[in-house]
């Protein structure tokens, strides 16, 4: 509860800090300290006392700053320690002891980096930049301000970022790099429009106008002065409006537009009086004094000069004092008051000398800084060149090694591919030669077998011709001579036997001349046979049926065809000779995988169990087995007989 109360009071105190009297704040903080709060609150209170004593008593500020530091170290409060170093640094900065200030800032920076307090780090960079700026190490000042700027931009804190940019622009102006200063001020103006910060915008316009003046671009300078005045009027920004009128008046005075210059400077003075801006009043009054001297209104000029000098003395504003004393010496010269002229001329010279000395010191420091910067830049350039060369060497070496590795890989790959190609070629050639050898061998064997076939064929042709001759001779003998009956019968038997041998021979020649026997061939041949048989028995009906599916299926070899033909022939002969059949059906069927051939007659039939297989039936069975098929006889007395051979097609 105590802590909360203290925090609220500190918050209220800090919020109203600028409106309250500093001493009152200091008293209230001391009262809170007397209540013996916790260590962390004590540290905060010491820090605040250090801050507020800064403008009242530097020694007291140092005492409270050191107390805050000591207590922070004792309680290991790193946040408080960093803040204490920061506050003490500010005190040294105020005393223009920049090296001590830098030491404190560095200590604070070290702790804040550990705490990763980025905003605190940015604030320290800003202050360190100011130290460098004041010791004329302007490039370091730019580096530190830029570091702070980067952090504020990352945090999107555009207000602080703009303030830092303003600092950087002022450094550029100090280095007489007006184009860079102008560019930065233009960026700030853009940001000010974006965040609608009109005081910042008017100050930026004022700075832009001054930068253009330095660059002798009066048109743009006037444009930005007027824009700044318009924005300040619209937003009732009296402080900025006073400065703008004063600066614009100075510009008009330098171009000889005295009446307009008086008008603008008067406006500035009235505004500054209204807001009690004493330093501003001093500047405007002295400017007006100068202007009235120019138009010969000495009395009025004297009044303004007196007012300005008093205020300039009060603020030790040397530039204003120089201008004021110079103009006063002119005034007394017009009034022929030699003593006063001498007095004010002496004062003028003293102050101007001191300003001149300061300026010389500053310029010497600037030149030194520029020389150092050039030296450093040269060193950096040399180092960069060396680094670039080393980098190039390393990259060249890397690329060379990479190239060698690549070459080794590609070479290996190429070698492997060539080896693989040769291996494949050899394998292929080997296989090819093996196949060719086998082919030649088999072709030779086939030729030999073909020769045997041809010899058999020639032999059969010859035998066929001789058998025909025998039949013809027997017929001549039968019809040419009157022979006894028994002899005639004998000759007839021989003739019939010879004829059947010839038919058999012809069938064999037919089959052997074919490489394949199709169902059509088989059907034609059997039809031919049936036709001859039909002549012998007129009343018999023959049917020959082939399943449509079988017609287009594979054909038989000549031996298979011959065997099938002989089975059918034998079955028909049996039906005609022994069964007295009136109808004979030859059917080829395909049922699923089973192919069957059947010869069915409607003859007498027989009892299978009571008969013995003769040559005919045995031959049929043997031929069926040669076809790798099953042979079956189904016979019913007085109904007929069926001879069935199946699984023919699979063989």
């Amino acid at each position: 509860m105590k802590k909360l109360l203290f925090l609220i009071i500190v918050l209220v105190v800090s919020l109203n800090g600028f409106s309250q009297n500093t001493l009152k704040i200091i008293d209230s903080l001391k009262i809170e300290l007397s209540k013996n709060p916790s260590d962390s609150l004590k540290i905060n209170a010491y820090s605040d006392l250090c801050w507020y004593y800064r403008t009242v008593s530097t020694d007291s500020a140092f005492i409270y700053g050191n107390l805050a530091l000591k207590l922070s170290k004792e309680t290991k409060n790193q946040l408080g320690e960093a803040q204490a170093h920061n506050d003490i640094g500010i005190l040294y900065y105020g005393l223009a002891d920049y090296s001590q200030a830098m030491q404190e800032y560095n200590l604070a920076l070290k702790i804040r980096k550990q705490l990763k307090d980025t905003l605190g780090i940015a604030s320290l960079y800003n202050k360190m930049g100011l130290c460098y700026q004041n010791t004329f190490q302007l490039d370091s000042a730019i580096v530190y301000n830029t570091k702070a700027l980067e952090i504020y931009e990352q945090k999107n804190n555009l207000k602080y970022a703009s303030a830092l940019k303003g600092n950087i622009a002022n450094i550029y102006r100090g280095l007489k790099q007006y184009d860079r200063a102008l560019k930065t001020h233009l960026e700030i103006a853009e940001t000010a429009i974006q965040i609608e910060d009109y005081p910042l915008l008017t100050r930026s316009y004022n700075n832009i106008a001054n930068a253009y003046l330095h660059m002798q671009d009066t048109l743009n300078s006037v444009k930005y002065f007027k824009q700044g005045i318009d924005v300040a009027k619209a937003n009732n920004l009296k402080n900025e409006l006073g400065a703008l009128y004063n600066n614009y008046g100075s510009y008009l005075s330098s171009t000889g537009q005295i009446a307009e210059a008086i008008d603008n400077t008067l406006k500035s003075l009235l505004i500054r009086r209204e807001i009690k801006d004493n330093q501003g009043i001093a500047s405007s009054s002295l400017n007006l004094g100068d202007l009235y001297l120019k138009i010969g209104e000495y009395k009025i000029a004297k009044n303004y000069l007196d007012e300005g000098i008093i205020l300039a003395e009060q603020f030790k504003a040397n530039e204003l004092r120089v201008s004021g004393y110079n103009n006063l010496s002119y005034y007394f010269a017009y009034n022929r008051n030699i003593d006063s002229v001498k007095f004010y001329q002496n004062k003028y010279k003293q102050i101007e000398d001191s300003i001149f000395n300061n300026r010389i010191t500053k310029e010497v420091a600037e030149v030194q800084e520029k020389y150092n910067a050039n030296e450093r830049e040269n060193q950096i350039l040399i180092q960069r060149a060396e680094l670039a060369e080393k980098k190039r060497d390393i990259s060249q070496k890397n690329s060379f090694i990479l190239g060698l590795v690549g070459l080794a890989v590609v070479l290996s790959l190429f070698g492997f591919l060539v080896y693989n190609q040769q291996k494949l070629k050899n394998n292929q050639l080997k296989k090819e030669s093996e196949l060719k050898e086998a082919l030649v061998k088999i072709e030779t064997q086939n030729k030999l077998q073909d020769q045997r076939l041809r010899i058999s064929r020639d032999l059969h042709d010859n035998i066929g011709a001789q058998l025909t001759f025998i039949i013809s001779s027997l017929d001549n003998l039968k019809y040419g001579f009157k022979l006894p009956v028994n002899l005639n019968t004998k000759l007839k038997t021989i003739s019939e036997f010879t004829s059947s041998t010839i038919y058999e021979l012809r069938d064999t020649i037919w089959a052997m001349n074919k490489s394949k026997i199709s169902f059509e061939d088989l059907q034609a041949r059997i039809s031919n046979f049936i036709e001859k048989a039909d002549k012998a028995s007129d009343n018999i009906i023959f049917n020959f049926t082939i399943d449509e599916k079988l017609k287009n299926s594979k054909a038989f070899t000549s031996v298979q065809g011959m065997n099938i033909y002989r089975i059918i022939q034998e079955a028909i002969n049996n039906a005609l000779k022994y069964a007295d059949a009136t109808q004979i059906d030859v059917v080829f069927l395909l049922n699923q995988d089973v192919c069957q051939m059947s010869v069915t007659d409607n003859g007498n039939g027989f009892d299978i169990s009571n008969i013995e297989y003769g040559n005919g039936l045995n031959n049929m069975k043997k031929r069926a087995h040669e076809l790798d098929s099953e042979f079956e006889i189904i016979s019913v007395i007085n109904k007929g007989t069926t001879i069935r051979v199946y699984n023919v097609i699979n063989t």
């Binding site: 060379f400 190429f414 060719k436 082919l439 025998i470 021989i494």
Partner: protein, 95 residues
């Protein structure tokens, strides 16, 4: 010109040429494999056909061998019958 740079250039050109050669070799290998596969299939078909032919001819010859035996028996029978007939005719004539 820097000798190292020149050497690097030569190195990379050699690598490039070798890569091109690798590609050519791969293409040639594929083409050879395809051609020899086609040849191999063709030869195998021919061999299959010849084997089939051989089988058929062997079957035919085997069949003919057995048939020729049967035929010779029949011829012998016919000759025997003719001689018997001749004998009967001669006996009739001389008696």
């Amino acid at each position: 010109m820097d000798i190292n740079l020149l050497f690097s250039w030569v190195l990379y050109i050699i690598i490039g040429v070798l890569i091109v050669l690798c590609i050519i070799t791969i293409i040639a290998t594929f083409r050879d494999a395809k051609v020899s596969q086609e040849k191999f299939i063709d030869l195998r078909e021919q061999l299959g056909f010849q084997k089939l032919l051989q089988e058929q001819v062997i079957q035919k010859n085997a069949y003919l061998e057995s048939y020729n035996m049967t035929l010779l028996n029949k011829l012998f029978e016919i000759t025997k019958e003719l001689f018997l007939t001749k004998k009967i005719i001669l006996e009739e004539h001389f008696n």
